[in-house]
């Protein structure tokens, strides 16, 4: 598939923003600036961006614990996301959601989710809405590999197929469900499970933006044309722990360094852009500089921003005793 220069630069900007955002969160989290939990998407950028490039604001996504990348790829406001992580009133959810619940329905982002397998049933519901409201929208349910063992995912796959819903199950398989190996915890295979529901599946190289983009484009087109649910099994890797503070001692010795050195999706995409797509190194450096400034400003603003007021505790709930 030929991609226009602007599209490629948009993809690069989105991927690089996610990487810079996550590296910055890693840094400020370690300094104790961010309360609660954070699960970082660094290493998986090609997946979220390669998929979301095919979506518009009328299309929805559901997300996971590891949702920052999906939110950025779907167009959520980056400074407001950072403020949300800091628990500030200027945050995307007024500081009431935090990292695990970042959402912006206006952008079609139905929320990061603190429950493994929480999203697939919701995605089916958004697909019912799309059908009923004639939006021609599709829904991507981003899932981690751990969620393939949740009953909710199995139920949602069956229901999506029974009703021929335009849902794309995008399984981001980073090899570990928390600290447990995926190849140990999944009996059979993910694609065979989906095949059991007659859901078409594609095995995707999540380190390669172009492979993700191509496979996602085909799956999304099929779903949009009424061919029903699709499943992408995307093989990739996360660079940080399951959560910030996880020492990842369960990994093999040298395992992550090897992935970073030989497979990193950003390095690969960058090399492809300059070598095969006539994009100058300087163009990418300019984008990098803009992103660095955006992230730095986001952190500065988040630090300075007003905290939620005590009275905010009682708003946005129908009754407060």
């Amino acid at each position: 598939m030929h991609l226009a220069r602007d599209t490629l630069l948009t993809a690069y900007r989105s991927m690089a923003t996610i990487r810079a955002f996550e590296e910055k969160v890693h840094e400020v989290f370690a300094r104790g600036e961010i309360p609660g939990f954070a699960h970082l998407y660094a290493g998986e950028e090609a997946s979220g961006v390669g998929i979301c490039l095919h979506l518009n604001d009328a299309d929805y996504i559901t997300s996971t614990h590891r949702g920052h990348g999906h939110a950025i790829a779907k167009g959520c406001d980056v400074p407001a996301m950072m403020a949300e992580l800091y628990g500030k009133r200027t945050g995307l959810c007024l500081g009431k959601g935090g990292s695990m619940h970042i959402a912006d329905l206006d952008k079609g982002m139905m929320g990061a989710n603190g429950i493994v397998g929480g999203g697939p049933p919701l995605a089916c519901g958004a697909a019912f809405s799309a059908r009923m409201l004639n939006t021609n929208g599709v829904v991507v349910a981003f899932l981690g590999d751990g969620s393939i063992n949740e009953g909710s995912t199995m139920e949602a796959m069956n229901m999506a197929k029974v009703f021929n819903l335009p849902v794309i199950f995008a399984i981001e398989d980073n090899e570990y469900a928390q600290a447990t190996a995926t190849n140990w915890s999944v009996a059979g295979s993910m694609t065979k499970r989906a095949a059991g529901f007659d859901i078409p599946t594609t095995l995707v190289d999540g380190f390669d933006f172009f492979d993700v983009h191509q496979a996602a484009g085909e799956a999304i087109d099929k779903a949009r044309k009424g061919e029903g649910p699709q499943l992408l099994h995307i093989k990739l890797y996360r660079y940080y722990g399951h959560f910030e503070g996880d020492a990842t001692t369960y990994r093999g010795k040298g395992e992550m360094d090897k992935v970073k050195e030989t497979k990193d999706c950003m390095v690969r995409f960058r090399a492809d852009l300059t070598a095969k797509h006539d994009i100058a190194e300087a163009d990418l450096e300019k984008i990098d500089a803009e992103i660095a400034a955006l992230i730095e400003q986001s952190v500065q603003d988040a630090r300075q921003a007003e905290s939620p007021r005590e009275a905010d505790l009682h708003t946005d709930v129908y009754v407060s005793y």
Binding site: G95, P121, A123
Partner: protein, 336 residues
């Protein structure tokens, strides 16, 4: 106005709201019946016939039978509600909440607050509850205290056909998740129900009768039993107020407190298991805020803390009876 059953009242509210608003739809198990099968369509209209006739009028796109997958379709209702439609899901028995509670507890109930007030979740879960049909331990529970405990869900327990139609209409028009409890023993109860649509606001208790001696707060099916007890007490010159909260979340605290301040005596009748039920919650409220008004101890009439038994010989002792309510209220007046 004409006499209609509890079942008909609910059916009418669903029909009227689906006619009024094309984004209202229903989803559940066998709410049509016969889906995908060679025989009759609308074969069941729900396991007890409550939704009968709706599928022929509104079609399979708006009256949706699902596989037996509570997690998937209750969650789908939450997702649909967050994205522009107004689903009414039917959970056949509230006991089945065990298979799908996450989608209510952690998804639907949380969206509005957790997302900073930017999301509406106008979904209704209609569900059947209560003992009395020998449906045994997994098909007879009340469980509304569990939902009352969770902020973000509104909990509605209608006590008559009139109440059911008005409260369900309100529930469907409401922008928050609502769980609507239908007592399985009440479907054939009859009462006057207006033909036209109407709403009953949430959080406003209904004084079903007024008297100066004892306040009886009762929920759902127990409202009728409490009134029967009050009829008997009136013959002995004991005059009761019987108050139906209608919704346990939000709870009309003021109406309860005002009535206790008037009578000084409180009996709470709750068919739910007695530990941490709505009765204990109301007792705590009154003890905390109207203690000075009390002329005697607060009395609870609830089942024993056991699973619901199957045998009619046991179940009859399990369910709070008119006699227990009557005798409990009378004991507060110094009688036997």
């Amino acid at each position: 106005m004409s006499r209609k059953s509890f079942r008909q009242a609910i059916n009418e509210a669903l029909r009227d709201e689906m006619r009024r608003d094309p984004t209202v739809f229903m989803i559940g198990e066998d709410i049509v019946g016969g889906t995908g099968a060679p025989g009759d369509q609308d074969a069941w209209g729900g396991v007890l016939g409550v939704t009968k006739g709706l599928a022929p009028e509104f079609g399979a796109e708006r009256v949706i039978d699902t596989p037996i997958s509570e997690m998937a379709y209750i969650g789908a209702a939450a997702g649909a509600a967050a994205t522009g439609t107004r689903p009414v899901a039917e959970l056949m028995f509230v006991d089945f909440m065990g298979t799908c509670f996450d989608q209510v507890l952690n998804q639907a109930a949380k969206f509005r607050y957790m997302f900073g007030g930017k999301v509406k979740t106008p979904m209704v879960i209609r569900t059947m509850y209560g003992a009395g049909l020998s449906a045994a331990a997994q098909h007879s529970q009340c469980l509304y205290p569990i939902f009352t405990h969770v902020p973000g869900i509104k909990v509605v327990i209608p006590s008559s056909p009139y109440e059911a139609k008005g409260l369900l209409t309100q529930a469907i028009r409401d922008d928050d998740p609502v769980i609507f409890f239908e007592h399985k023993f009440m479907y054939d109860d009859k009462g006057e129900v207006p033909d036209e649509p109407y709403t009953i606001p949430f959080g406003e208790a209904n004084l079903t009768r007024e008297g100066d001696d004892v306040t009886i707060v009762a929920l759902g099916r127990m409202v009728k039993l409490a009134n029967e007890a009050a009829d008997q007490l009136a013959e002995d010159g004991i005059h009761c107020t019987v108050l139906d909260p209608r919704t346990t979340s939000p709870l009309d605290e003021e109406a309860i407190l005002a009535s206790v301040r008037r009578t000084g005596r409180l009996v709470v009748v709750d068919e739910a298991s007695p530990r941490c039920n709505v009765g204990t919650d109301i007792s705590a409220l009154v003890a905390e805020q109207a203690f000075d008004a009390l002329k005697g101890p607060i009395r609870l009439v609830s089942p024993p803390h056991t699973p619901v038994p199957f045998s009619p010989a046991l179940e009859v002792h399990y369910i709070p009876s008119v006699e227990r309510i009557r005798d409990t209220a009378r004991s507060l007046m110094g009688g036997a």
